[in-house]
Amino acid sequence: MIRLASLFWLALVAVTGFATFKVKYAVQDIEDELNKVRRHTIAEQQEIHILRAEWTALNQPERLAELNRRFLSLAAVAPKQLQRKIEDIPLRPVPQPAEPLIAAAPEAAPMPPPAPADVRPGLDTVITAAATPVAAHQAEAATATPVAAAAKSAVANIHLIASAEAAPADAPATLKLTPGKPEARAQVTKASPANKPRSLDRLISEIAQSR
């Protein structure tokens, strides 16, 4: 009986002793690591400090002005370029409907290329269509209606494609953000079919909420 108890205690002592040493060495390792991390942190912080000084030196206004002169030639902002509020910025003038002007243009005007289905060239066409009248005025062309039609279809195209693009581009992007949440997905799908032209402010607030 006494033997058994002694054995138990002996075993316990051995186990405790072993565990103690184990913990001790583990702690030592962690301490070494901490030491290393701290030394690294300090080195990094000093590095950052030096880099910050270098960054400032590289950002000397004199140097930036010289770089600007050499590569960008940006001018100082003129007072007339500064507006107090967003409402002060005048809207781009609405382009005149193309038909009457072009219809008035004489016959032999070269026909502009028909509006392709792609969006970006379509945009170009609209711009050329708007610009043509000036040139077409002197050159003679009576075949104006196709031009106008092309321009019109281009505008329509843009509208279509823009809206078509807006819907799918929107939904997956938001879906990606919240892949695992069915409620969120439901919300998004509810929101996207409506596809109203959203204001920038709303977009920003939505992004803020999703964070």
Partner: protein, 595 residues
């Protein structure tokens, strides 16, 4: 019987253990009892000792295990700190956090020649490699130190981080660095006079480095200045242009937030590079080191000339001696003693107060001052802080010079800014108070928290301030400072062209042209002062070197460039809100002779 006897003989028998039967005769043995007592006491003492020791162990265990106290902390304390040691001097940053001054490690490279040779390094090769990294040392020079046999010999003091990296990359044994720190000014000469510079032992010798030396040495929190490096750059660049265009000797400028007294920019040219304050760069200007280090804004006592008419007119209006609808006869020069007071741009007729100010009439101003009297004039200038040293954070400040006895002739000359010499810092501080509603804020180079407006001292009525704003706007609209106009920013101000006084004589060809203004005048935010030292007329300025032709156009350019930086939105100068705030009723319907 025998058993009991035997038992009883045992002296260490516990008392309760089988007592002798009552029939047995009690042996009264004194000696045995004594021994028994001693034994018992020893036992108790030992037990108590063990108990105490075990208690201590138990308590300690409880403390370590349960209260998590004890030695763990002292162990952590031996670890290196989590942050780098505090620098010898705190950083200095501008109001947007751009570094104006910082400490950089500038380690010195030394060689342990013994170790190098013991490692079997070829000294010729090492010297050649090192010379490619350290450009100002020759291989021969380096080799001599590598083979010197000393365990410590400097190869190069103050290495740049790049050089240190390059040396490390060479991997030459026996080389090491001593950690040293040096003050570094990344923007160079941009704000040299404000920031100042340090000596070899990192002690502040000039500018803020000297003025705020204690707080710079104090810790790691950067010192935030009110300066804006971008504005500072614009001011400096335009002033350099003025110096160049008019082949001037020097120039200076200062921009102040009129609501708080914060100095946004302060430039004095020629200036110096605080990284090497003693050096002079002859390619930029022939000035010597002493002249470069001289801060014209705070140390230069100048007779500011017509700029003082701002103070004179404000004094006359505030004391009620005159009003905007009154005027003075300025048709004849004033003779007083050996002085003759004349007008530079004489109109030779009666002039109203706005006209006196606009055409900068000395005669009218002198008469106005005489009307108010010496007492009022002196008190008013004193209230504006023009008769004492300007209270600012840097120590390079000059005392104003003014007559000890305020005689009548002094009253007259001081009216148009002669016979009194103050620093440009004085002028801009006082003008800020005049345009901001009459509240004087002491100038400061330290950034104030946004939205905090320090309590100032009301030195004149808000009404006078409003009238002065109108008058200053008039000068730019129709008067001598038309070229200072910056469309959209409603600039107002006053020019001053003074002849420099040298040994009591005025030198006609040596001018000090200055312009002090503020913008936007209907609700002033910033005051700006620019002055140019000894400008020479050019073809473009039709030979004129006066303020209206030299610093006024520069001020216009400066304002147009800095206003967007400072967040001042341009307004329509013809809008009713602006014109209403700046119209002088007494001038309505009168023809203003364009100047």
């Amino acid at each position: 019987m025998t058993t009991a006897q035997r038992l009883d003989e045992n002296p260490c028998r516990p008392r309760h253990f089988k007592p002798p039967p009552p029939c047995a005769p009690v042996v009264a043995d004194e000696r045995a009892n004594q021994v028994l007592d001693t034994c018992r006491t020893r036992l108790v003492a030992t037990a108590a000792l063990f108990a105490v020791v075990f208690l201590v162990v138990v308590l300690r265990l409880a403390e370590v295990a349960l209260l998590s106290g004890g030695g763990a902390e002292s162990h952590v304390g031996r670890l290196p700190p989590a942050a780098p040691p505090a620098p010898a001097r705190a950083d200095i940053v501008d109001r947007n956090g751009a570094l104006l001054a910082t400490m950089l490690p500038k380690p010195s490279l030394f060689v342990n020649s013994k170790a190098l040779l013991a490692a079997g390094q070829n000294p010729d090769e090492a010297a050649y490699e090192l010379a490619s990294v350290l450009p100002d040392k020759s291989p021969g020079e380096i080799r001599a130190r590598l083979v010197s046999g000393k365990s410590f010999a400097y190869l190069q003091r103050s290495l740049t981080p790049r050089q240190q990296y390059a040396v490390n990359r060479l991997g030459i044994p026996g080389l090491d660095f001593t950690p040293e720190e040096r003050r570094f000014y990344p923007y160079g000469d941009l704000a040299a006079h404000v920031v100042g510079y340090c000596g070899i032992d990192n002690e502040g010798l000039a500018g803020v480095e000297r003025g705020l030396d204690a707080s710079a040495k104090g810790g790691r929190q950067p010192i935030e200045l009110s300066l804006d490096a971008r504005v500072q750059f614009v001011l400096r660049e335009e002033l350099l242009k003025v110096i160049h265009d008019f082949s001037a000797k020097g120039a200076a400028g200062i921009i102040m937030d009129v609501r708080t007294g914060e100095i946004i920019a302060m430039v004095s040219l020629p200036d110096f590079d605080p990284n090497k304050p003693g050096d002079t760069d002859a390619s930029k200007s022939p000035a010597d080191a002493k002249e470069r280090i001289f801060n014209k804004i705070t140390l230069g006592d100048y007779e500011m000339g017509s700029v003082f008419k701002i103070f004179n007119t404000a004094m006359a209006l505030d004391s009620g001696v005159t009003s905007l609808s009154k005027g003075y006869d300025a048709s004849h020069p004033i003779q007083i003693g050996r002085f003759t007071i004349e007008d530079y741009h004489g109109k030779h007729r009666w002039l109203s107060v706005p006209e006196i100010f606009m055409y900068s009439s000395n005669i009218g101003s002198a008469k106005m001052a005489v009307d108010a009297g010496a007492e009022r004039q002196r008190n008013f200038l004193a209230r504006l802080g023009l008769l004492q040293t300007a209270p600012v954070e840097i120590e390079e400040v000059a005392k104003p010079h003014y007559p000890a006895v305020w005689r009548p002739v002094n009253v007259m000359t001081i009216a148009y800014g002669h016979g009194i010499a103050v620093t440009p810092l004085h002028v801009i501080t006082a003008v800020s108070a005049i345009v901001n509603g009459g509240v004087l804020h002491p100038p400061t180079l330290r950034k104030l928290p946004p939205g905090i407006v320090p309590a100032g001292e009301q030195v004149m009525s808000p009404k006078t301030s409003e009238q002065m704003r109108k008058l200053m706007r008039l000068v730019v609209e129709f008067g001598t400072a038309k070229m200072a106009a910056a469309p959209g920013y409603v600039v107002g101000g006053k020019t001053g062209t003074a002849e420099k006084n040298s040994g009591g004589r005025y030198l006609e060809k040596k001018l000090l042209s200055s312009f002090i203004g503020a913008f936007p005048m209907h609700d002033p935010r910033y005051a700006i002062l620019a002055l140019v030292d000894e400008p020479h007329g050019t073809k473009q300025s039709f030979g004129y070197a006066t303020a209206g032709w030299t610093v006024a156009p520069a001020t216009s350019r400066i304002i147009q460039r800095i206003a967007p930086i400072l967040g001042v939105a341009p307004v329509d100068e013809a809008s009713p809100a602006v014109t209403q705030a700046l119209t002088i009723e007494s001038l309505q319907g009168k023809r203003i002779e364009s100047y």
